[in-house]
């Protein structure tokens, strides 16, 4: 009786094994959508176009880009994006004078507050505008903030 049980269990595991194995060494993440063309673009205006095409972007006071005005170390510049707009889908950040302006894309799920805080690199030394484009309700809104860094962060 015990031997029969053992074999029956073994058969079950044997059938499941390939499925488990496939899960363990699955191929790379399915969302592999890293936008290489946009991230490698070196021109500021073209990088915005690479992400959004020719969709019009309007300035909005409801988008708040909180960053320092002057910062010592361009390698670690704090950045906080928040907005009072509703139905926010994503935040996209560009640093105009970086070697590759497109800095990051953050797509928000449902029930997530429209807020992101992180640290970015700003090239320098010098002054550069930082742009955040918020996609809310299918439309694009933007806000800029000019940052001056003492030591460049990218090179």
């Amino acid at each position: 009786m015990q031997r029969r049980k053992f074999f029956r269990n073994a058969l079950g595991w044997g059938a499941a094994a390939p499925v488990l194995w496939a899960g363990l060494c699955s191929p790379m993440p399915l969302w592999a959508a890293w936008d290489e063309a946009a991230f490698r673009e070196e021109d500021f205006a073209r990088s915005i176009q690479a992400v959004f095409g020719n969709t019009p972007i309007e300035d909005s006071p409801e988008v708040v880009l909180k960053m320092p005005d002057r910062w010592q170390n361009g390698a670690v510049v704090p950045m906080e994006i928040s907005t009072t707009l509703k139905e926010v889908e994503s935040f996209t950040v560009f640093v105009a004078k970086n070697p590759t302006p497109l800095t990051g894309i953050y797509k928000l799920g449902k029930h997530v507050e429209p807020f992101v805080s992180t640290r970015i690199k700003v090239d320098g030394p010098g002054t550069t505008p930082v742009l955040v484009v918020v996609k809310a309700n299918g439309k694009l809104y933007r806000a800029t903030h000019t940052v001056q860094v003492m030591v460049g962060g990218c090179t």
Binding site: P29, A75, T100, I105, G109, K110, F115, G153, C154
Partner: protein, 109 residues
Amino acid sequence: MAEQKKDKRTVRVHAREQDGIVQVKALIRHPMETGLRRDPTTGGFWPEHIITEGVVWVNGELALEMQWSIAISRNPFIEFRYRGKKGDRIDLRLVDNYNTVFEGSGVVQ
């Protein structure tokens, strides 16, 4: 098969609930090398090594999808917020350009 890093020190997830809003902070240990910095001893460039994508799930539901560039700082830090409760499960999974996968998770305190 991609290398996986589940070391608790490599990915730290911290989540705290207050007044119905959960604040999630994640810190990932990663060089985020731009590929534009020179090695002074050889004269060549340090090769680009960056995390390119990351996904955060809250209780299995997609909360945040990120695509990063060379301009995200070394040892990337990310904070976001959502309406939730204590006990929610936060899962984080990132991949870099060397196909190394970084995973971490936490429970909302």
